[in-house]
Amino acid sequence: MRAVECQRGKMAAFRAGLLTRALTKGKTPGISNIILGTRAASGPSKDTLPGPYPTTPEEMAAAAKKYNMTPEDYRPHPDDGMGYGDYPMLPERSQQDRDPWYQWDHPDLRRNWGEPMHWDFDMYIRNRVDTSPSPVDWRTMRNQLLGFMGFMLLMFGLGEMFPCYQPVAPKQYPYGNLYLERGGDPEKEPEAVKHYEI
């Protein structure tokens, strides 16, 4: 139902936009401008959505208020063109790391309503990446893993290069190397086959 209403609202806005542009005496914009410029009024307004990187202190304060953060806590991502805009940079902690006993609004996500979401929120959910403390620190874990994998690879590689097994010989068949079974003439005498020498 809501999707249908949304569509109808969008179509009405589109038609209204076309009409106003046709009636006003300004320069008529191209069709792409008309299509992109009209937006339904049912969604969020532009000032509640993320905006460009804030430069002045007033913009910083407004952005902090928009994201429900205190101005001291609000820090935007550095402006190096990666596309963050004014989205805040939150500490890199996973949701599993949060207090399990607090009454969150959304207990499975361990998040309250209206709380600013981390940019990588979908990575930090409890099914995925976890930043909780580990039994040993990461460096030790990495060294142990790499050491073990490296050692096993080395040993298997050496084993391929220098194979080492019990002595083997070609398979020896009886009855003169299976002379009759291989279709040899029964009248003729087969040559004697010698497999070993004592």
Partner: protein
């Protein structure tokens, strides 16, 4: 708090951290109170909507809308040195590198087959 034993695989909750309770500077206390006030306001808004008996629709979360908008609409992407380098390294270079690798490997194998020296690794028939 005296009988709380820290768990080795969990971070200590903020409410059980003694640094939260002793030797607090007034600025820290003011900042914490501001944060608590914001949290309480958000909680109040949410609970009012949640417990409203006449509510029929989903409670819309503007923080979620903002996050979705920020992640899907990359309006503020700018081609700079860093982004161009990353784009070239991960988007353009693999095309050429993989082409060279696959082509050379395939050419070597074709030459071997033509010369008749190629031994098939997983041949099942004799």
């Amino acid at each position: 708090m005296a009988d709380y034993k820290a768990a080795s695989l969990a971070t200590r909750p903020k409410t059980l951290d003694p640094a939260e309770y002793f030797n607090l500077s007034p600025e820290y206390r003011r900042a914490e109170e501001k944060r608590a006030a914001l949290r309480a306001q958000l909680k109040r808004q949410y609970l009012q909507q949640l417990n409203n008996p006449h509510r029929k629709e989903l409670i819309e979360d503007p923080a979620l809308t903002r996050w979705t908008y920020a992640r899907t609409n990359n309006n503020y992407f700018r081609p700079t040195a860093k982004t161009s380098l990353i784009g070239g390294l991960f988007g353009v270079l693999p095309l050429f590198v993989l082409y060279v690798v696959f082509k050379s490997d395939r050419d070597k194998r074709d030459a071997k087959i033509k010369a008749g020296t190629y031994e098939r690794p997983y041949k099942l028939s004799t």
